[in-house]
């Protein structure tokens, strides 16, 4: 490949610019701005142009020439037919001349309004999804043979069984940290043995369900959104609909049902690991014996707390799966939408879980706590 070259010579009154070599994107000398400045300077000095020595002229180079000529043909130009046609093509570009839409004033007001409207639409759609699920449940009572067992058990395994190690590990570590930090405080008051009450209530009633919910929302919620989203992108959901298979019954219902079942079980499992971790830490830090801890736990922590934890697990699972499926079904066929919807699903699910948790705390404040007993 030969580089693009310009040779200038003075011929009588005029400057003669002779261009030769390959004038293509790959061979143009960089920086291009310098080249363009040189071409413009030649145009200003009313040069006559000879392009016949150019071996190859591509649109980029032609565009540069055209621009430096001030968007018009120069007075003196020697060029072959092929070069003229390339230049003519560049001269005839149809640009989109519409002005970019003007940004309105009070952009934030529009954004806020759009946010509210979108939230409303999401709310309506979620209510519709819940209604559809209730109809599905009614249908399944009438036709128990249509229960999607395979999908149900697959979700149970993927979101439940496969989450056992990570929830146990996290629960155990939280138990250790909590026990260790509280024991330092309790020792100062000489109230060592209250560690059992503290850990029992906080982990079983509060931390276990919330930690599992956060883990499951990140783990299974995102997976559900992405799965349904990709099925929408690849038109698999339309294929299902064509075969007369209800997408809510086959895709959404098994996920919601399986997660609502798996979550309470995971909560029990995670809380057990947390209490165990707390017990180990209490033993190491304060010398509290395992026997005492196990003996005291049922005495100081009412069974109601376990039921509250399990109940929270059920509702959290319901919320996470519903939100995940809802946003999965809203994915539009492009990569950007897939990623934003997955993010939104996880963030919304965790936020809603915390809100539901707060509601639980208010309505169960008289149950299972020492003051209420």
């Amino acid at each position: 490949m030969t580089d693009a070259t310009i040779i200038t010579a003075r011929q009588g009154e005029r400057v003669q610019a002779t261009l030769s070599g390959e004038w293509t994107l790959a061979t143009l000398p960089t920086p291009i701005a310098a080249l363009e400045a040189r071409l413009r300077a030649l145009t200003e000095s009313q040069a006559s142009w000879d392009l016949q020595g150019i071996l190859r002229l591509d649109s980029v180079a032609a565009l540069l020439l055209w621009r430096s000529w001030g968007q018009r043909w120069p007075d003196a130009l020697a060029a072959g037919a092929a070069q003229r046609s390339v230049l003519a093509r560049v001269a005839d570009i149809h640009r989109d001349r519409r002005a970019a839409p003007r940004r309105p004033h009070f952009v934030w007001l529009y954004d806020l309004g759009r946010l509210v409207l979108r939230a409303r639409k999401n709310l309506v759609d979620i209510v519709a999804l819940i209604g559809q699920l209730l109809l599905d449940v009614g249908y399944l009572f009438a036709h128990p043979r249509d229960f999607p067992w395979r999908e149900f058990s697959a979700t149970l395994y993927k979101s439940g069984a496969q989450a056992l190690p990570v929830t146990a590990l996290v629960g155990f570590l939280i138990g250790i940290v909590l026990s260790f930090l509280s024991s330092l405080q309790l020792k100062a008051f000489g109230a060592d043995i209250y560690i059992v009450n503290l850990l029992g209530v906080s982990i079983i009633r509060e931390l276990g369900p919330v930690i599992v919910a956060v883990l499951v929302a990140g783990r299974s919620g995102s997976a559900m959104t992405a799965q349904i989203g990709v099925m929408r992108v690849t038109e698999e959901i339309d294929a299902l609909a064509m075969m007369g298979v209800s997408r809510s019954l086959r895709l959404v219902f098994p996920k919601v049902a399986a997660l609502s079942l798996a979550m309470p079980l995971l909560v029990v499992w995670c809380a057990a690991a947390g209490v165990f971790g707390g017990m180990v830490a209490a033993n190491l830090e304060m010398g509290l014996s395992y026997a005492y801890f196990i003996d005291a736990l049922p005495r100081v922590v009412a069974v109601a707390n376990v039921w509250i934890g399990i109940g929270k697990g059920f509702f959290f699972g319901l919320v996470i799966a519903l939100i995940a499926c809802h946003f999965g079904l809203k994915v539009r066929p492009n990569t950007e939408s897939l990623s934003t919807k997955t993010t939104t699903a996880v963030v919304t699910a965790i936020t809603l879980v915390i809100i539901v948790d707060a509601v639980f705390a208010v309505f169960t404040r008289h149950i299972g706590l020492p003051g209420a007993m």
């Binding site: 490949m1 030969t2 030769s20 070599g21 293509t24 994107l25 790959a26 143009l28 960089t30 920086p31 291009i32 701005a33 071996l55 591509d58 649109s59 980029v60 565009l63 540069l64 621009r67 046609s85 093509r89 560049v90 005839d92 570009i93 149809h94 640009r95 989109d96 001349r97 519409r98 539009r332 066929p333 492009n334 990569t335 950007e336």
Partner: protein, 264 residues
């Protein structure tokens, strides 16, 4: 100047020597030699699963053959030097079967993407070039703001072609250029490619099993069967080869009519 001109006539645009491909136990290609000279339009045909697309991916360097060498413009595609490799990749464009448009970018940004990646052009030139390419593939300026999801199948192909041509490559690689288009659209797409080829004088390699496309475009045909290239030459030469695959592929009644139409 003359030296490069002769050099480019000597080394073919694409040169395959002894290419062998295996996937596990299955042998896909055995000892394939293929030359494509500048300015040719080569149609690569073969039965389903004969490894046409695999061969195409090896030519553009997306896949490494188990043995043999692939050279583009006289340079190995798997050259060690990344700088060289990047330079080489800018000299050809590929049109993927399903377009492979970046779904998160608008039509405009899709076409502008390779130009922006060069980092030597200013936004104004890029904008002009994008509208130039849009015009070349017979799309209108307002289409530039659409997202790939809003395009019809034919438009996706056109935008993908515009993107493949955005750097004005010397070699254009087409994977099933007309698949998924109705005959009318396929016909106009073939005419578009032929017109652009005449105008920009690039070399084309295409995989297709659409005889109309083949007849309308190809100046040479290579037939892939039984793990090797059983025939390569002008359409007339290939039709004259006596081989069961070629007979069944080209010589059914419909096929003969299509080829006749193209040859006449």
């Amino acid at each position: 100047m003359t030296a490069t001109a002769t050099a480019s006539t000597i080394s073919p645009v694409v040169e395959l020597r002894g290419v062998c491909t295996r996937f596990g136990e299955t042998v896909i290609h055995q000892d394939i030699d293929l030359d494509v000279e500048a300015g040719q339009i080569l149609g690569l045909v073969g039965g389903s699963g004969s490894g046409k697309t695999t061969l195409l991916r090896e030519i553009v360097g997306l896949l490494l053959p188990n043995a043999g060498s692939v050279k583009l413009f006289g340079q190995s595609v798997s050259a060690a030097n990344p700088q060289q490799r990047r330079g080489l990749r800018r000299r050809f464009g590929m049109l993927f079967q399903r377009g492979a448009l970046f779904s998160a970018l608008s039509v405009f940004d899709n076409i502008a993407f390779p130009l922006r990646e060069l980092r030597v052009l200013d936004e104004e030139i890029i904008r002009d070039l994008v509208y130039l390419k849009l015009g070349m593939v017979e799309l209108e300026a307002p289409h530039a703001q659409l997202m790939p999801a809003e395009l019809s199948g034919g438009m996706v192909k056109r935008v993908a072609l515009a993107r493949a041509l955005s750097l004005e490559p010397e070699l254009l690689v087409l994977d099933e250029p007309t698949s998924g288009l109705d005959p009318d659209l396929a016909d106009s797409f073939v005419r578009l490619i032929a017109m652009l080829q005449k105008e920009l004088a690039f070399t084309v390699i295409m995989v297709t099993h659409d005889l109309e496309t083949l007849a309308g475009l190809a100046t040479r045909i290579a037939v892939l069967a039984e793990q090797r290239i059983i025939a390569c030459g002008t359409p007339a030469e290939v039709l004259a080869v006596d081989h069961p695959f070629i007979r069944s592929f080209f010589c059914s009644e419909h096929a003969a009519a299509a080829m006749q139409k193209g040859l006449v």
